[in-house]
């Protein structure tokens, strides 16, 4: 009897619910407070929520400093809060993560004009509502406030084919993903090639862009036709055909015996 009771208690203890261990999501006080504000002070939080930075968990403190996890001291200079960055600081702040682009930009005519009315990263990419960069950002509206559009148009055209190839491979990767095919390695490779291509623009050097784009296109060409499943379908048709043939064969034998 004691053994039975022990076995019963053992089963109960195994099945009883252990203490909750679900991870608690940390609260970002910048987004919480500014999200509740209206107009000028609330807008950055709203824009950020739809940005690529939010998608990748890059929060306000990455550019503005401070501590988003400590409500009382979130905007304390002692915690590195710097408020709105001045124009000359912006490439350094963005370059903290986008290092390759920062290097190209610093050496380019844009970078050299920094502090003398030249553009900073936010001129083309915006500040809070930053979205995934596309070739469409090289447009008349962004470029013509400072100079003519001819050279920018030339660069855009040089990058257009590479961009189209990148987009086609991106679509193909989504398609493969939907079929349950592991695309991690492909995605990483595409990410690197895409970064190389988009970083190149920041050199503003048309000859270099043309030359490097040709290399990138050759690299991308290798990925054409990835994940083709033609062989699998042929094997499938053969297997279904054999099964049907077997059914027919058994039917004929049965008919003969009956």
């Amino acid at each position: 009897m004691k053994q039975l009771l022990f076995a019963f208690l053992l089963v109960l203890s195994l099945l009883s619910a252990p203490p909750a261990t679900a991870a608690v999501r940390p609260v970002d006080v910048c987004v919480t407070c500014h999200g509740a504000l209206s107009a000028r002070l609330g807008m950055p939080a709203k824009l950020w929520k739809a940005s690529i930075h939010a998608e990748h968990g890059v929060s306000c403190n990455a550019c503005h400093g401070g501590d988003p996890m400590d409500g009382a001291n979130s905007m304390s200079p002692a915690r590195g809060f710097r408020g709105v960055p001045i124009a000359t600081e912006i490439p350094t702040i963005c370059g903290g993560c986008h290092m390759g682009i920062a290097k190209y930009n610093a050496a380019s005519p844009h970078g050299k004009a920094l502090g003398r009315g030249g553009p900073t990263c936010v001129t083309c990419h915006g500040s809070h509502g930053v979205v995934k960069a596309t070739i469409d950002q090289i447009n008349r509206k962004n470029c013509t406030p400072c100079h003519g559009f001819e050279s920018a148009w030339e660069i855009r055209n040089a990058m257009l084919k590479t961009d189209g190839m990148l987009k086609a491979i991106e679509d193909r990767i989504i398609e493969l993903k939907n079929q349950g095919i592991l695309t991690d390695t492909l995605e990483k490779r595409l990410f690197a090639l895409r970064n190389q291509s988009h970083s190149l623009f920041h050199t503003l050097n048309i000859d270099l862009i043309r030359q490097e784009s040709a290399h990138l296109q050759a690299e991308l060409e290798k990925n054409n036709g990835i994940g083709n499943t033609g062989t699998g379908l042929s094997i499938g048709a053969l297997a279904v055909g054999w099964a049907l043939l077997a059914a027919l064969l058994f039917y004929l034998i049965k008919k003969n015996i009956d």
């Binding site: 099945l15 619910a17 679900a22 499938g236 297997a239 279904v240 099964a243 059914a247 049965k254």
Partner: protein, 367 residues
């Protein structure tokens, strides 16, 4: 040929194999008007064996850990030779298994094969349906993808509406407040241990009962289509003018099995996403709730029924009553007539219920 005969004799003198074969050829006779529907039981046996084999192969590489489960399934599909095929056979096979069980039940229902003395055949078959649904539900969570995670969250949440014990039952099922590490462990244990063992026991009981009572006579092509069982003593139904099980009906079994395999392979090779939608290829994220969470097709009618009633407990009660009625059908329907056209009220009600179930499933899919 001599060698084969010698081998046969060698085995026969030791184990009496010739007696078993002779018994299957002349002793085990089946009704002369037996039809192809009777072979669905054999198809189900093959399906179950296939599920066991593919499941064991998947277990070689699957890791039941919330951080590794999704990756291990992806690894099986991508890196292991034939891994994609094995996984698809297992996943598509589970849906096909439920479909064939339902077809088997419908045929038994319309041919009146559940009538006395076969009440327990029906009941064990009904339990097999429940076990198959259970093993499919528990297996559904194992790949730990976004769809399986949230569908399991919704499915287990339904239990919470049971009065008094609902929330405790949910915690018992999940191993905590949320679907998580402990839920995966519990579902894995049920899926690979307790449920397959229960299915084996139930199949054994089902077959034992069939063997003891003999195969029922289909009500087609006969003048007298009433149930002949008197209920006064045990009788094993024999069919002296019948056809031998081997080779005649074995060939019918082989035809049905081959056709089933053709259907299974057609889905696996050409329409795998019909049973495994693209959202199944996204890892589970407890912090992001997808906009539309739907259970697997065999739970869609239950899901839609729950939505139709103002409170979940009413919806659950209605379903419990319907399921209990289905389980106890042989004890409720005591009529002797077996032919579906000679018992029109029953047939029309049964067709109505099946159409209602199909309608609720389609409604659930598009709601």
């Amino acid at each position: 040929m001599d060698f084969l005969k010698q081998l046969y004799d060698w085995v026969d003198v030791r184990f009496g194999v010739r007696e078993v074969v002779d018994e299957k050829r002349s002793g085990h006779l089946l009704p002369p008007n037996i039809n192809a529907w009777y072979s669905l039981g054999s198809v189900l046996l093959v399906i179950f064996c296939l599920q066991i084999v593919t499941g064991l192969l998947l277990m070689l590489y699957y890791v039941p850990d919330i951080d590794k489960a999704f990756g291990s399934v992806a690894f099986i599909m991508e890196e292991i030779p034939l891994g994609r095929l094995i996984r698809l056979f297992h996943a598509v096979g589970s849906s096909m298994m439920l479909l064939v069980i339902l077809l088997h039940m419908f045929s038994v229902l319309f041919m009146g094969s559940y009538k006395a003395p076969r009440e327990l055949h029906w009941l064990t078959g009904f339990f097999l349906l429940l076990l198959a649904m259970g093993i499919s539900l528990t297996g559904y969570l194992l790949p730990w993808n976004q769809l399986s995670f949230w569908a399991t969250t919704v499915a287990t949440d339904c239990v919470s509406s049971i009065p008094f014990v609902g929330s405790d039952l949910v915690e018992l099922l999940r191993g905590g407040k949320q679907v998580g590490f402990h839920t995966l462990g519990r579902f894995y244990t049920l899926h690979v241990g307790l449920l397959p063992a229960s299915i084996v026991v139930m199949i054994g009981t089902h077959l034992f009962l069939i063997r003891r009572t003999g195969v029922s006579t289909p009500p087609f092509g006969l003048e007298d289509t009433t149930n002949q069982w008197q209920g006064d003593k045990f009788v094993c139904k024999d069919h002296p003018d019948g056809i031998p099980f081997f080779p005649n009906f074995v060939l019918q079994d082989l035809i049905s099995i081959s056709l089933y395999l053709a259907c299974l392979m057609m889905f696996v090779f050409f329409f795998p996403n019909l049973f495994i939608p693209s959202t199944s290829y996204m890892p589970a994220n407890p912090l992001v709730t997808p906009s539309h969470i739907k259970p697997e097709w065999y739970f869609l009618a239950n899901y839609q029924t729950l939505k139709l009633f103002p409170s979940e407990i009413v919806g659950l009660t209605v379903q419990a009553i319907a399921m209990t009625f289905l389980a106890l059908l042989p004890f409720i329907d005591r009529g002797t007539e077996k032919h579906p056209l000679k018992r029109p009220t029953f047939t029309l009600t049964a067709i109505g219920c099946i159409l209602l179930w199909i309608g609720l499933t389609i409604w659930g899919l598009y709601s």
